[in-house]
């Protein structure tokens, strides 16, 4: 393949999910030449699967609600490695961004007085943990993600955003000075390869839950942005932090919202006992997700699991009554009937902790600018590169994300990045130049794949990767077992690098895309594995049997994975919010 043709923009956003489309909306309104590149039609992005809602203190359920209480919950939920300046920004800007969504048309459920309906979610409290359970999650029934994603797409249509739908970004074009000049992308329909040149390249590429065999994530969640960034030698932050959602449907992996427990549902073991009362006496089923997921696994290991194999627990909803379930959780009824063959109106749903969310990602500042670290350990901006949403690690979720905070993260930081880029463009942001050899470098992977003559199939390698991650890097981790997993990954890595593409055709060749996605998955998996093995403590979602305590002395920090050396460094956590006092680390109980 020769040199690809090129197109130029002021800003290009990779990904048409919640964060990408929120950033796009901001830029479309600015009048700069911007485009969204999405590998699926935007409303097929994984944001659509979010169910329960978007958490923020709009003061509907409780007029005295305060964003600082939300901030406290989020800091505590993060097990104190969430950056407090970023969390402060998210929680204080949250209400305004949610109101904007409502003005855009998002069909939120309503209270009797016409305001947005808010439901209780896990880890929420009033008065800095002293005032009992809060109800802070704004919901559109149990289809909030769907409603939000469609509202954003509609808003973008209204503002004439340029979309390149079903285009797949292959690799970053990085010049010798380390600046990002754009990406190499494939038009999936025609197979054409194009150099998309841009002054600001925004990664809104979402998560990578598909590194695990059992996940709530869509099939498209293959960590493409993370893979591209790692290949461009950009470090990743907190990649060991993977959230396992307590309630994935047993066997199918599809998500059942935490809103079920928010509305009054609870988990039971095979004896019908509401076991969360033992693990989290105050918050019970609405403790942090990491806490609930671990408790479930302990029940199963303790021989109190349900089913023939005793390998799952049950989510009980029938006591809520048919009317509540129909109005508040209609989507859950549908999913349970389809995937669990259970009618929640009568019977409990079999559930199991399932990989759900990547807390780690590309380190960024509050404006979404991607960061690396210089030799002295100082933050250094990467010119031209931005990241938002699940692909980014701002970090507002730290070691454990609270339910309802991901949708908020998307829109708050999508908007923030959009505004920041608009400002930079106004100040004359320059297009980083790329030489032919920079382009060639970015084309290497695609060229190799297109010329592959032999090797193993995508499906085999992918299954093997997912099994390794599932078995060696699950809810509970041990050093010895993780080291074994890393060994296995090493062998697999070489085979994945030389994966075979039998079908070289151009038109809508999904086999080519899947091969490229597999390589991205591997990059994510490797970063996860190495980071997990290095963090010798238990914090948030990262629970080690060989290091069961939190170790604030050594690990009250972010981990940074450097791809070239496959080594782990540390990066300080921000404890300096601008308008409130620091929330000092405390023992985390619910």
């Amino acid at each position: 393949m020769g040199t690809p043709s090129s197109i130029s923009f002021d800003a290009v956003i990779m990904g048409g999910g919640g964060s990408g489309m929120r950033a796009a909306l901001q830029l479309a309104q600015s009048g700069y030449k911007t485009a969204v590149i999405s590998k699926v039609f935007p409303t097929r992005s994984h944001t659509v699967s979010a169910q329960g809602g978007i958490t923020c203190a709009i003061g509907s359920a409780d007029p005295d609600d305060d964003w600082r209480w939300h901030m406290y919950d989020t800091v505590k939920g993060s097990d104190y490695i969430g950056d407090q300046d970023a969390i402060e920004y998210m929680c204080s800007e949250g209400p305004q961004t949610v109101f904007e969504l409502e003005h855009m048309g998002l069909p939120f459920s309503r209270t009797a007085n016409g305001r947005i309906y808010q439901r209780p979610f896990g880890g929420q409290s009033k008065d800095y943990g002293k005032g009992g359970q809060a109800a802070r999650t704004c919901a559109a029934a149990d289809r909030t993600g769907h409603a939000l994603l469609h509202a954003l797409y509609q808003g973008n249509l209204k503002n004439n955003t340029v979309f390149f739908n079903e285009w797949f970004a292959v690799d970053l074009v990085k010049n010798q000075a380390g600046a990002i000049a754009g990406v190499i992308a494939i038009n999936i329909e025609s197979g054409e390869v194009v150099f998309v040149r841009s002054k600001a390249t925004v990664f809104a590429t979402g998560g990578a839950g598909r590194i695990y065999a059992s996940t709530t994530n869509a099939l498209i969640n293959t960590g493409d942005g993370i893979g591209m960034a790692l290949r461009a030698d950009i470090p990743m932050q907190d990649m060991e932090m993977w959230q396992f959602h307590p309630t994935g449907i047993y066997g199918a992996g599809t998500l059942v919202t935490e809103g079920c427990r928010g509305e009054g549902g609870y988990l039971i073991n095979k004896d019908g006992e509401r076991f969360m009362e033992r693990y989290a006496p105050t918050a019970k089923d609405l403790a942090g997700r990491d806490v609930v997921a671990r408790s479930m696994v302990l029940e199963v290991l303790g021989g109190r699991g349900c089913g023939e194999k005793g390998d799952h627990v049950m989510l009980k909803l029938d006591h809520l009554g048919e009317q509540v379930l129909n109005s508040k959780l209609p989507g859950i009824l549908e999913l349970s009937r389809t995937f669990a063959h259970v009618d929640p109106i009568k019977d409990p749903i079999p559930v199991v902790p399932t990989c759900h969310y990547m807390m780690g990602g590309i380190p960024t500042n509050v404006q979404g600018q991607a960061l690396t670290q210089d030799g002295a350990g100082n933050d250094q901006l990467i010119p031209g590169l931005f990241a938002v949403g699940e692909a980014a690690c701002v970090s507002v979720h730290g070691a454990n994300r609270l339910g309802g905070n991901s949708l908020l993260d998307l829109v708050v930081f999508g908007r923030a990045a959009g505004k920041a880029i608009e400002e930079m463009l106004a100040q004359g942001l320059e297009q980083p130049q790329a030489s032919d050899s920079d382009l060639e470098q970015a084309m290497t992977r695609l060229n190799r794949l297109n010329e592959s003559q032999k090797g193993e199939s995508v499906a085999t390698l992918r299954a093997e990767l997912q099994d390794i991650m599932q078995n060696h890097f699950g809810v509970f981790r041990t050093g010895e077992f993780m080291a074994e997993g890393i060994d296995k990954l090493q062998g697999l890595g070489e085979r994945i690098a030389t994966v075979y593409l039998p079908d070289k055709s151009h038109t809508f060749n999904t086999a080519r895309i899947e091969a490229l996605e597999l390589q991205n998955l591997f990059e994510v998996a490797e970063a996860t594995a190495i980071a997990a093995n290095m963090r010798t403590e238990s914090r948030g979602a990262h629970a080690r049997e060989d290091f069961q305590e939190r170790d604030d002395e050594n690990w009250l920090c972010h981990s940074l994975y450097f791809p070239s050396k496959k080594s782990i460094g540390k990066r300080g956590v921000n404890f300096s919010p601008r308008t409130v006092d620091t929330f000092e680390p405390q023992i985390r109980t619910y």
Partner: protein
């Protein structure tokens, strides 16, 4: 399980063919059609189809399954083949085929965009959300849940004949979603845009759309409401 898949690659095929594949389906589990398709793709990676969420909310994998439009990811194999022994997968009817099970949805999206599928309200927004009573909000139920999978519109003869002029059930459902929204102020303009012989009135009320909607929505009823609104505005 014998799986018969519509295959067409414009680079190599002069016309489409049905490819038969024998797929080993694990016993004791009722797979979804999408799972079967994934197994088929393991045998022949060149099979092209769209998929994303695999739980019936993203609308990617609309296709014609044993003669009926539906989402592969939430159609159990047992329901798809009935008592039969063969799974037959074809692209959604009435749209140009790009490759295999992938259709060109441009005209479908164009009709969606034509109804101005976004809230229009030129009054300055309040500092908080616009208020809406639960009763007003309830009018949007059964409308906003559409996932744009195109199962309905590609099951509609009127859309087959005039895909460029008849908005089709999916687009009209969204047209009504905004007509029914108490926060939208463009009702008159929206209705005027719809009052031509094609956009709405090509609906003959045969309810083919209702029969296949994977989300259980009822575009025919929405079209009826639009017609009623046109009548009360026009008379």
């Amino acid at each position: 399980m014998l799986v018969s898949i519509y295959r067409y690659n414009p680079e190599t095929d002069s016309k489409p063919v049905m490819q038969n594949l024998q797929v080993e389906v694990p016993a004791g589990r009722d797979l979804m059609v999408l799972d079967v398709l994934a197994l088929a793709k393991e045998q022949d990676p060149s099979i092209a189809y769209r998929r994303s969420c695999r739980e019936g909310v993203c609308g990617s994998d609309g296709m014609n399954i044993n003669g009926v439009n539906g989402l592969a990811c939430i159609t159990p194999l047992s329901a798809a083949v009935g008592g039969g022994k063969k799974l037959v997968l074809r692209p959604l009817p009435g749209l140009p085929v790009i490759r295999d099970l992938v259709v060109d949805m441009a005209v479908f999206y164009k009709q969606f965009e034509k109804v101005k599928p976004y809230l229009i309200n030129d009054e300055p927004p309040p500092a908080i959300e616009r208020l809406q009573s639960p009763e007003e909000r309830a009018k949007l139920d059964g409308l906003y849940e559409c996932i744009l999978c195109a199962c309905c519109s590609t099951n509609c003869p009127s859309f087959w004949w005039n895909p460029d002029k008849f908005i089709g059930p999916a687009g009209l459902l969204q047209a009504y979603r905004f007509l029914a929204d108490s926060r939208d102020t463009a009702t008159t303009a929206r209705l005027s845009d719809l009052d031509d012989p094609f956009s709405v009135f090509r609906c003959r009320g045969i309810m083919n759309c209702v029969a296949v909607c994977p989300k259980g929505l009822n575009p025919t009823r929405a079209i009826g409401h639009i017609r009623s609104m046109l009548i009360s505005q026009g008379t």
